[in-house]
């Protein structure tokens, strides 16, 4: 059977991202003064999970051959809202968490409606809605802070370690992959998302649910971005309408998606790849702290490593013998 070859070819982007992540992580841990300890892993995981969730959100939209520039703002808005509603008793705080996820879904649904029914380009739509979402965040949380009854027990439980070893945030991320992403990818709607990104016309002609697929991609993306916002609240115990943070997460999510082997043309890639992309990208940023370099150098260094990493993906171009393939 030659099946495994096709499986391998399909997962090439994800595996490359995994490889880059492992390389970066090993390099990071090997040079970390504390070495490979549960605390080091937890720190990496907690930072990485934030970007991983936002990158998963970005992946869904990119798969439909769109791009979501509001993803970081949904993340910030949900962070601000969560700092109010994740409070009081455990039941009330849990309801608050559900409410924040629903808010993310609403933001995604608004994006989807404009893209689908207004027929506006995703990039334009999400620049505008992103500004609106950030505006609301700033309005409800003009200064950083949190509700006096903020439920830090839930926050601690979700950012701690299980059995003092495994970071809970990683387990949650794994849960999202197993319970949300994998079923989604194997569903009719999930396949339609890939189809729409690959060729919207052909998907329509094939009788696939084009509009529902796009809608699902944006809404699920909104929910994942909201989960990221929740985690940010859990780490910081507060909400902050930070424009810089929102923009950074939007741009980093695109970098993570590209590192993760997801095609910006749509139709190819996996959210799992984007997770590895996000973790690798974070590890790149953290390398500088390990080497005790001035933080001023971080953007430059991170940019260079990103450039190098995405170049690995285009190394195949050197093998192309039919130049027409360069353009496909």
């Amino acid at each position: 059977m030659t099946d495994w070859r096709f499986h391998l070819a399909q997962q090439r982007g994800t595996l490359t991202a995994l490889g880059i992540f492992i390389a970066m992580f090993v390099f990071y841990v090997a040079n970390h003064p504390a070495g490979f300890t549960a605390n080091v892993v937890q720190t990496v995981a907690n930072k990485g999970v934030l970007l991983a969730l936002v990158a998963m959100a970005q992946t869904l939209v990119v798969l439909t051959s769109g791009i979501d520039l509001s993803v970081g703002m949904i993340f910030i808005l949900c962070n601000c809202v969560a700092s109010y509603v994740v409070s009081g008793s455990a039941v009330a705080a849990t309801l608050g968490i559900a409410g924040v996820i629903a808010l993310g879904a609403l933001c995604g649904a608004i994006n989807a409606m404009i893209v689908i029914f207004g027929r506006l380009q995703p990039i334009v739509t999400t620049i505008a809605t992103g500004a609106v979402y950030f505006g609301i965040a700033l309005w409800i949380r003009p200064f950083p802070g949190s509700s006096p009854e903020f439920n830090s027990d839930i926050a601690d439980a979700l950012t701690g370690k299980i059995f003092d070893v495994v970071p809970t945030s990683l387990v949650v991320l794994l849960g999202v992959v197993v319970l949300v992403w994998l079923p989604f990818q194997g569903s009719v709607i999930g396949r339609a998302v890939y189809a729409v990104g690959s060729s919207e016309q052909a998907a329509y002609m094939s009788g696939m649910p084009v509009r529902r697929a796009k809608f699902a991609a944006y809404v699920l993306g909104g929910m994942l971005a909201a989960s990221g916002g929740l985690f940010l609240t859990f780490f910081t115990y507060s909400g902050e309408a930070s424009l810089a943070n929102g923009n950074t997460y939007t741009l980093y999510s695109i970098a993570a998606v590209v590192l993760g082997g997801v095609s910006l043309f749509g139709g190819r890639g996996s959210a799992i790849g984007a997770i590895f992309g996000a973790l690798a990208f974070r590890a790149i940023g953290d390398l500088l702290f390990v080497f005790d370099v001035e933080p001023l150098w971080q953007p430059l260094f991170q940019g260079l490593v990103l450039l190098l990493a995405v170049s690995i993906g285009s190394a195949r171009l050197f093998q192309v013998r039919n130049r027409l393939e360069l353009f496909t």
Partner: protein, 517 residues
């Protein structure tokens, strides 16, 4: 399987697009267990007719009846649910999904919205086997497969939708003869199973072989419906084009002296593993054809000559002098003067959103400009001349190329390259999906170019074209030249036998019977 009530009937269907009447009061009866061929030039209304049948566009007036009951289809899915399945000329496969994913695309097996991948695999394998595509791996990505394989997948996919009426719109236009025979076996079996088939093709001999009923359309009107075999080819073509049908192919001249130095001389060209030791030469005024089954290296050979492929060995001589052509830019330079008319006009030949004028002058801009400034007057004259020469039907030169009909788009691609006055013209299956009238003009143009001194290499999947147009035909098989046929040796039988690599089988075997087995 004939019944009095037609399975599907269209009555008084009309459709306008802006000011253009695409269909006027069209009627059509489709019966179970019969093949109904629709004939007509491009722009005759055939495409609109099937788009209405399959729910892609809604008619302005008229009604449709299925089993005698009136129906309407708001979208393609509704038509599919009613059992009307269309295989479109514009392939509707999704490039980044696997073959199996595509085959079950509209209705994947599974529960609660989750797809059962094993059941999908079984379905896909069964469908591929029924459509004669056992050699296609269900997990391969569609984007990695050649056109002919994709067409088989389209048919396999249609079969999984349990069609009652199956519409094939130019379904064989991407197929070579052997594949066509396989598809025909499948279609005949479907007909015997009681499915009604609606068959649209520009290939007359396919219609003669397959059709039970024929309907001719012209300018959006139904001209005639008749039983297959009751009208001669000439009568049919006259109905289609509305004027007398003279000889399709212009006569071939005696040809240049064999001693003349070839304009293009190819020696031992290799591009492992697709091309092996290919040698041939083309003199000025000569048309050399490339034959054989689809995908035997013809396309690669043209790309190799045009400087698109890397890692070629062998020698290419222009006017007897060895040259090395490293890029299409080098190939089109004046010293070589080569032009390639590509197969896929939508992606390789035209920029559909740009205007007719811009498309035409692109390849010639350096001649039409002083420094960096484009000479608009010179550009206009050159463009007008080409539109006149090729008889391109367009609403002016400012409209987007994509708004032209298929035949006129193809003329535009040819015109674009002719503006450079090339000496060597390579053509990659240029008449695919083009109507009879335009083809005829095209053959005359080809001969005129040759007479004016061009050296022409023509790859075609249509054997009639190779026989009618070419002075010499190289039959390719698995990247090698199987044989070179000249003059009267270029016959359909010889082409098919060589294409199938069965030249050493006893003389009278029917090639079709061999292929179908």
């Amino acid at each position: 399987m004939e019944s009095l009530v037609p399975l599907f009937r269209m009555e008084g269907i009309s459709k306008r697009y802006g000011g253009v009447r695409a269909l006027q009061q069209a009627d059509l009866d489709v019966r179970a267990g019969r093949v109904h061929a629709i004939l007509g030039e491009n722009g005759a209304g055939k495409s609109t007719l099937i788009k209405i049948m399959s729910g892609v566009v809604a008619p302005d007036e008229g009604r449709m009846l299925l089993d005698g009951r009136e129906v309407s289809f708001p979208d393609p899915a509704a038509a599919v649910a009613a059992g009307i399945v269309c295989i479109f000329q514009e392939l509707s496969l999704i490039p980044d999904l696997s073959v199996a994913d595509n085959i079950v695309a509209s209705n994947p097996p599974g529960r609660f919205g989750l797809i059962d991948r094993k059941a999908q695999r079984r379905l896909a394998e069964t469908a591929l086997a029924r459509a004669g595509g056992e050699d296609i791996h269900p997990m391969a990505l569609v984007r990695d497969l050649p056109l002919s394989r994709r067409q088989i997948i389209e048919i396999a996919r249609a079969l999984t939708r349990t069609p009652r009426v199956l519409i094939l719109d130019e379904a064989t236009s991407a197929l070579a003869a052997a594949d066509v025979t396989r598809v025909f076996d499948v279609l005949k079996r479907l007909k015997a199973e009681g499915i009604a088939l609606l068959y649209i093709s520009h290939r007359m001999h396919e219609i003669a072989e397959l059709a039970d009923d024929c309907t001719v359309f012209r300018n959006g009107r139904r001209i005639a419906t008749y039983e297959a075999g009751t009208k001669s080819d000439n009568e049919v073509v006259e109905m289609m084009i509305g004027r007398e049908y003279s000889h399709v192919f212009p006569p071939k001249p005696a040809g240049p002296a064999a001693t003349a130095t070839p304009v293009l001389d190819v020696r031992n060209l290799c591009w492992a593993p697709r091309l092996n030791d290919i040698s041939f030469s083309v003199r000025a005024g000569e048309v050399v054809g490339l034959g054989g089954l689809d995908g035997q290296g013809q396309r690669e050979l043209l790309l190799a000559l045009f400087g698109v492929l890397r890692g070629i060995s062998g020698q290419v001589l222009i006017d007897g002098k060895p040259v090395s052509i490293g890029s299409p830019r080098a190939a089109k330079a004046d010293a070589i003067g080569m032009a390639l008319i590509p197969e896929d006009r939508k992606t390789e030949g035209l920029m559909l959103q740009m205007s007719v004028r811009d498309n035409l002058s692109f390849a010639t801009l350096s001649e039409l400009s002083h420094g960096v400034i484009i000479d608009r007057d010179a550009e206009r004259d050159a463009v007008d001349e080409m539109i006149e020469l090729l008889g391109i039907k367009t609403d002016g030169v400012s409209v987007p190329a994509g708004s032209l009909s298929g035949g006129n788009q193809q003329k535009l691609v040819i015109a674009k390259w002719l503006m450079r006055k090339p000496r060597i013209i390579l053509l990659n299956d240029p008449t695919r999906g083009i109507d009879v009238g335009t083809k005829q003009e095209f053959y005359q143009l080809l001969r005129n170019l040759a007479d004016a001194g061009a050296a022409i290499v023509l790859y075609s999947t249509d054997y009639d074209e190779l026989i009618g147009c070419c002075d010499t035909v190289l039959v390719l098989y698995d990247g090698t030249v199987k044989r070179t046929l000249r003059g009267a040796d270029i016959t359909e039988r010889a082409l098919i036998r060589l294409a199938l690599n069965i030249d050493n089988v006893a003389g009278d075997a029917q090639p079709n019977a061999t292929v179908g087995a």
